[in-house]
Amino acid sequence: MYEFIAFYIFAISTTILFMITVMSKNVLYAMTSLAAGMVMISGFFFILGADFLGVVQLIVYVGAVMALYSFAMMFFDATKDIKEKHNNPTLVFLLGGLMALVFVIIFSAPIIGENIEASYPIVNGVGNAQAVGIVLFTKYLVPFEVAAIMLLVAMIAGIILAGKKMDISLTKTVIQKEPEDEILKESK
């Protein structure tokens, strides 16, 4: 009963919030609704009893990824509307609509065919974090480690890109110019 109500609340609010993200011309609205939508998605995990994943959704998407987006947004004037450029609105509408239709068919086909099976069903007595850990370190060990190495590479690359020429001050650069005056040259 409670799950039923909660599911519909979360579903409706997620849909509306992501609609705003797509439709709005204002960067601030789009960003806010995207972040709020991420929070609402974590609600689904909590309903399904996957507390750990719900919290990870909160921390990773809301706390880190979206915060980085919004940090980039600070370089723009967030209060202004953006002028969008549509060269061919019918084509965009058609392609977008087709994509949405394909996704709906893909995801609803197993539901209609009634053959969904959980490959890793919830085991009683095993906590959420433990269950994720067991799967992560047995079946998905290689992808997990590869992802870790990729992130490490990305981090090192980021540090190098950002840290290039860090020993030179941008504000206190003293450029020693050769004096153009001949007398000054001689006195030097």
């Binding site: 909590f46 909160l58 967030a78």
Partner: protein, 336 residues
């Protein structure tokens, strides 16, 4: 604590608990402003608020009346919706974080026989939930700064974003070592782990200090309160706010202070176990009160750091220390 003895947690009990947390914590958060002013005044040999009520106790009511009746100003070029929503985000996330934290002990309301649990929602990943909610609390200052079209506001919210993102790393890593020792993310397990009287701070002093430092940075307390540093950026992200909207930021900040105090008490300082002749409820209240007092004490004693020192401290000192602490804890656990 055996789970079978406990009566069933009903929806009514949880709702009562939620209302209780909301009422009591917002009252305490308001009262915290009085305590802060009083303690800071005493430490500077002043008297503090004194004229409203006995010893100035009703100053809280006077402030409340003032905040509620003040004109609600929305700047002309601000984004009105986001501007109005932002304070609510700060206050709401602070209180949602308290949903997974044990605030008072269990009790049963007599006559109607409703069991009120100590934790409103006992998710078994309590610590992560609180950290995640405090991470989401970043959006309050962030959106407030971006919506108000004020340069001080946007500088303030940029500082908020940097500071929160950086220090979340330290908070998470410093809590990771005790989490590894206990092997659970639930506050109740942390409490039970320390029921033999040895507090986790004995095993994890480095993690405790790191957590306190990062917690002060995340609650915007003094050695790191650069988000609304008056001397540099008028009032940071609250520059354009007035009246009750400003008050909501304030309540959120104080509720976060209490949350940090609760986490420090439960994870590191022995939780709500009985100690010597004192009952558990008294111990947890005393610990939270002391950590609150310590925040005020630190504010009276220590100066600010500069923003660059703040980042330097986070990424070059605290984070490596936290990682080393985690590695050493892991090695010791594997050996032992």
């Amino acid at each position: 604590m055996d789970a079978t003895i406990l009566p069933e947690v009903t929806a009514v009990g949880v709702i009562i608990k939620a209302v209780l947390i909301l009422a009591v914590i917002s009252a305490i958060a308001g009262f915290g402003t009085y305590i802060e002013r009083k303690v800071l005044a005493f430490m500077q040999r002043r008297l503090g608020p004194q004229h409203v009520g006995p010893y100035g106790l009703l100053q809280l009511a006077a402030d409340g009346i003032k905040l509620f009746t003040k004109e609600d100003i929305i700047p002309q070029h601000a984004n009105k919706i986001i501007f109005s929503v932002a304070p609510a985000i700060t206050a709401a996330t602070a209180f949602i974080a308290l949903a997974a934290v044990p605030v008072f002990p269990d009790f049963t309301i007599p006559f109607v026989d409703v069991f009120v649990p100590s934790i409103a929602s006992d998710v078994n990943v309590g610590i992560l939930f609180v950290l995640g909610m405090m991470a989401a609390g970043l959006y309050g200052p962030l959106l407030a700064g971006m919506a108000q079209s004020n340069k001080w506001g946007i500088i303030g919210s940029a500082r908020t974003a940097i500071q929160f993102l950086s220090y979340e790393v330290v908070t998470g890593l410093s809590l990771l070592a005790p989490i590894m020792m206990v092997g659970s993310l639930s506050f109740v397990d942390f409490n039970d782990y320390q029921s033999d009287g040895t507090w986790l701070v004995v095993y994890q002093p480095v993690a405790f200090v790191l957590f306190l430092i990062a917690g002060y940075a995340e609650t915007n307390r003094t050695p790191f309160d650069l988000l609304e540093h008056e001397a540099e950026i008028v009032s940071g992200y609250v520059t354009e706010y007035s009246g009750m909207r400003w008050g909501m930021f304030f309540i959120g900040e104080y509720a976060n202070m209490i949350t940090i105090g609760v986490i420090a008490s439960v994870v590191f300082l022995g939780g709500y176990n009985d100690w010597w002749i004192f009952a558990g409820w008294f111990m947890i209240l005393a610990k939270i009160a002391f950590s609150f007092f310590f925040m005020l004490w630190v504010r009276a004693a220590w100066p600010h750091v500069r923003p660059d020192q703040l980042m330097w401290l986070c990424w070059k000192v605290l984070m490596p220390l936290a990682v080393i602490n985690v590695v050493i804890t892991g090695l010791v656990m594997m050996a032992g």
